[in-house]
């Protein structure tokens, strides 16, 4: 194991890690918004919107991210739509993530009892006020565990970004293997890099889940 080699190339891995995290954060944030929007449309049975969202969710959950990325990055330019690598990555991640977030919100929304909603309506709350003060706070408690699981899932999905010419962790590893034949070192650093990113997040997610369950409104 060539330790010098490892030390020499740590900066490359660090840069790649930051790239991954940056894109993942934007993608996750946008997915949350998209997912919340879709789940509300479906929950309130808004005509047309609800069908479109349902269709979107099925399409997104049954196709791989890589294919979506290829379509965006290699396919769209052929009809004159040019999107940068980073934009493709974010759009792809959001498209995929949105449906998973929507499912997480859906289970939370459905867990709010009808009697709660009726109590809110009876004191004159409008639909928007109902969402904000009664439905969302209670829905979130149920949704947080699957939402956290989705965060981890989406960060893992970012590993395909090298396919659209982004210098992420996989790209760096493959590059080093190809250029210097230092397979063991490159792979070791790759595994460690992902462990460093994902282990803390995973532990944090478990912690949050436990907190929510205990604080849980305990009815």
């Amino acid at each position: 194991m060539d330790v010098n080699f490892i030390v020499q190339h740590i900066p490359q891995y660090v840069d790649a890690a930051f790239l991954t995290l940056r894109l993942a954060t934007i993608g996750i944030f946008l997915s949350l918004l998209l997912g919340l929007f879709c789940s509300l449309l479906i929950y309130f049975k808004i005509p047309v919107g609800r069908q479109i969202c349902s269709l979107y969710i099925e399409l997104s959950r049954n196709t791989p991210l890589l294919v979506q990325l290829f379509f965006l990055y290699f396919g769209l330019p052929k009809i004159g739509v040019f999107i940068s690598s980073e934009a493709c990555a974010i759009i792809g991640l959001t498209f995929l993530g949105g449906s998973y977030m929507a499912e997480a919100f859906r289970s939370g929304l459905n867990a709010v009892e009808t009697s709660q909603i009726e109590s809110g309506l009876s004191i004159g709350l409008t639909r928007l006020q109902l969402i904000r003060y009664v439905i969302l706070p209670q829905a979130l408690a149920t949704s947080i565990p699957p939402l956290c699981a989705n965060f981890i899932f989406l960060i893992k999905e970012t590993s395909v970004f090298s396919a659209v010419a982004l210098a992420d962790l996989m790209y760096v590893a493959k590059d080093l293997i190809g250029l210097y034949y230092k397979t063991d070192e490159a792979l070791l650093m790759l595994v460690i890099a992902y462990l460093i990113i994902l282990l803390p997040i995973s532990l944090l997610a478990s912690f949050v889940e436990r907190q929510v369950r205990y604080a849980g409104f305990g009815n």
Partner: protein, 225 residues
């Protein structure tokens, strides 16, 4: 321009080649799921043992496989194991190894949680009417466990099918690679082919996964009791 692109789909044996790629995807998924179910059941039973060493090892295995992106595992097996054991693993074989390891871990966890979620009184009621332990398992425990497991296993299957798309990145000629070859071959004659080819592959994956999802949902509904 548009119809030049879509024409590529129907030219020569392009569609056939894409379907061969599809078949490869199905083949990989089927092998992986089949092996995972069998090994997973063993793993699941193993995970319910109280021996601390066994618990630790199985737990470590599960968490590691879960936390690592599948592509990283593919790289490690394809590039790393090849060197480690001096054997030349093909992309496909590496993929099978990784998918079976992944599937076994997930199925093992599913089996374990399904087993421990069956309340003690189910065992007790069976014993109370005179059933022996094997009989209790066969008539009471296993049917209930299966009802919880099968929708989840189907869910794992769709995830595996989607993940097979990654093997193009370790050089396996499946749908995406075939698509790339077709696009390359028609670079001058049908510049917009990429849109249609990747669009088609998108739809093909959907056609593979969606029925399984639907079936899983339907079963879950039916067995919700």
């Amino acid at each position: 321009m548009q119809d030049l692109g879509i024409r590529v789909l129907f030219e020569g044996n392009n569609l056939l080649r894409l379907f061969n790629g599809l078949l490869l995807v199905v083949e990989l998924s089927a092998i992986a799921v089949f092996c995972s179910i069998i090994l997973g059941i063993c793993m699941g039973a193993l995970m319910t043992l109280k021996n601390p060493l066994v618990k630790f090892l199985t737990r470590f295995y599960l968490e590691f496989i879960r936390i690592m992106p599948q592509l990283v595992l593919l790289f490690v097996v394809y590039f790393g194991l090849t060197r480690l054991f001096g054997i030349d693993l093909s992309g496909f074989t590496s993929a099978v190894i990784v998918f079976v390891l992944w599937g076994t871990a997930e199925m093992g966890d599913l089996v374990r949680s399904a087993l421990i979620s069956i309340p003690q009184h189910q065992y007790d009621s069976g014993a109370a009417i005179g059933l022996t332990k094997p009989q209790i398992f066969r008539y009471i425990i296993v049917p209930q466990t299966l009802r919880r497991l099968i929708p989840l296993a189907m869910n794992l299957t769709t995830r595996m099918i989607k993940t097979t798309s990654l093997i193009v990145l370790i050089g396996v000629v499946e749908m995406m690679k075939t698509g790339q070859q077709i696009i390359e071959a028609n670079r001058y004659t049908a510049p917009s082919a990429a849109l249609w080819i990747y669009g088609t592959i998108f739809i093909l994956y959907f056609i593979l996964c969606y029925p399984v999802s639907l079936a899983a949902q339907a079963l879950e509904e039916r067995w919700k009791n």
